[in-house]
Symmetry: C2
Subunit: 357 residues, 2 copies
């Protein structure tokens, strides 16, 4: 049986061994470690001494989890490669908020990028709860798999789904407010630079209507814009990054001046920053000739990006809400969903529409 592959555990002392050495029963030794229940001080120190002699690291987490029915692990499920998922500063803030909410609870974060062909098999890890972070595409399959595991599921900005505790953001309404600002400044229309719309992640023109079931956030934000500019069109990017923003910006702006939009609504600040770079390249003045609205409220301090007009979203609040929802679910309390709101911050990238030449 010892094929060398089990070497991980070779020679690891067990609680029983420690108990034997200390001259107590395993149950008492367990009590001494967990701190629960009454154990005399002398016994406790005898057990700890025996543990030290054997170089015992404490109760095996796996065995403990089995017995307790808790693993102390919360999965963060994302549909991106890690590199992409965490390049988005908003996701990082969310992660941080989660950790903050956990506080003293000893919960580890298991990051599960559902990418590749055997995607769902990764969900075969021990977990006490799952947080869906950047999930839009295969939500149904993922949620089903998790539901079968009887694990609380928290969805951050996911399409509503039975049994998923929702942490929502007012994506649609916030986008509408951004668009309204532009309209009030005299803009008659706006082009959209959208977040990735489907799992394919290819860059493409936005159609007149985008089907749901793809990236929920992108769809919602687009819908908000179209409440104000019904014919708004634009480009769906391959990722939320400055580089893709530059590409989209060039595609929209590097055209005869008459065809050029007077305003661009980017669905993230990284994309907006890219659009600004593209405008700069092409000699288009912002906000004199072009207004740009972002989304997120990323801090670009010191990196030369002008202060964006953008919708500031409470990203770490999202994480905190998700973390609290996990704790509540784990405590057997009622589901604790949350709905957060974004705030329009007027920066230096929006201004009155230029009169068309």
């Amino acid at each position: 049986m010892d094929d060398g592959a089990t070497s991980t555990r070779a020679g690891r002392p067990t609680l029983a061994a420690v108990a034997a050495r200390a001259g107590v029963s395993p149950s008492t030794a367990s009590l001494a470690f967990s701190g629960t229940g009454p154990v005399s001080e002398s016994t406790r120190s005898r057990v700890l001494a025996a543990a030290a002699e054997l170089d015992y690291a404490g109760p095996d987490p796996v065995a403990r989890s089995l017995r307790r029915g808790r693993s102390g692990v919360v999965a963060v499920v994302t549909e991106d490669r890690l590199e992409d998922a965490f390049r988005d500063p908003m996701n990082l803030a969310v992660l941080d908020g989660i950790g903050e909410a956990f506080g003293d609870e000893r919960l580890g974060l298991l990051v599960l990028p559902l990418v590749g062909h055997d995607r769902l098999e990764l969900l075969d890890s021990a977990m006490d709860a799952a947080i869906l972070l950047g999930c839009g595409t295969d939500l149904v399959a993922t949620v089903d798999a998790l539901r079968r595991r009887r694990v609380p599921i928290i969805g951050i900005e996911t399409a509503p789904s039975e049994g998923v505790i929702a942490i929502d953001l007012d994506n649609r309404d916030a986008s509408r407010r951004g668009a309204e600002l532009l309209r009030s400044l005299g803009h008659r229309d706006a082009a959209v630079v959208a977040l990735p719309l489907d799992s394919g992640r290819e860059r493409r023109r936005l159609g007149p209507r985008e089907s749901a079931g793809t990236a929920f956030v992108a769809i919602e934000r687009l819908a908000g814009v179209r409440l104000v500019f019904p014919h708004a069109t634009g480009i769906a990017t391959a990722s939320s990054s400055v580089a893709d923003g530059v590409r989209a910006g060039r595609a929209l702006l590097d055209v005869p001046a008459g065809d050029r939009p007077t305003a661009i609504i980017a669905q993230s600040d990284l994309l907006a920053a890219g659009v600004l770079v593209a405008a700069d390249e092409l000699g288009i003045a912002v906000p004199a000739q072009l207004s740009v609205v972002g989304f997120d409220g990323v801090r670009f301090d010191g990196s030369g990006v002008p202060e964006l007009t953008t919708l500031v979203q409470p990203a770490s609040e999202k994480g905190r809400a998700a973390g609290l929802a996990v704790l509540a679910a784990l405590a057997g309390e009622a589901p604790r969903p949350a709905a957060l709101t974004s705030e329009l911050r007027t920066g230096a990238t929006t201004g009155p529409a230029a009169s068309r030449p």
Copy 2:
């Protein structure tokens, strides 16, 4: 016993229940799921049908781990808050490299930020191996705790330590080469903008000698520079970010022209980018009046940062090497350390030393 806190598991069917329903023994049902061993096609489908009827999600990962002695989880230990650790693009690339190396092995990444007062308790999670990512400060305590767990430990750019499989980078030599480029361009000295030096993370002047036992990478890179410019001094930043680079840059450059360094060696590209911003603010021309060297080889595409002269490090290679080291250790093979090298890439931010006025 059912205090509501165990609700996670309430009503979850077990393999035994599935077996009973399918009219087979638990052992056979197990075989049907694991695919190991001989099971007739009819039996297998009967078991799977029973599982579907009971909405059984497959064998409990915790119980399986206990029996198998493998949890399928690899811990990534960092000494930063997640937000800070992952803001560094190099760490992201490493993470991605790890995932890439794992390939088809179903291994999840458990992210453990060792921060806060009860730091080490987080290591009480199930794990098959641990990768030390941004660890410099409390290496000894961390390594001890992991060693007691009898878990393979992979250290990425950590100070050498017994029992830690090292994935190293030529930090010292690479920095030396960067400094030599500057010397060959006529620079007589260079100021250093260093990565954080201690866990305190406060910004401060570099002393003439920095003690080891703190951030290993920063020390090594500094030592490399001092092989060429023995009296090099500068500023230790609070974090590797553009914003902190700007602050450090201002502190070094906003002085009477005679006191101003002709060259700055930043220990990361983010810091270097910040220095460039500071120089721009102060009207200092790069590279005419100031040469700047970075480290990492971050791609700033499209964000207006000029092409840095920098030491391009193979970040995802580091991750891949770490991942392979994990796999080797898990397979019971001999330790597989790695030593990677960086390459000097000459960009547009270095030039001949300006003759002092």
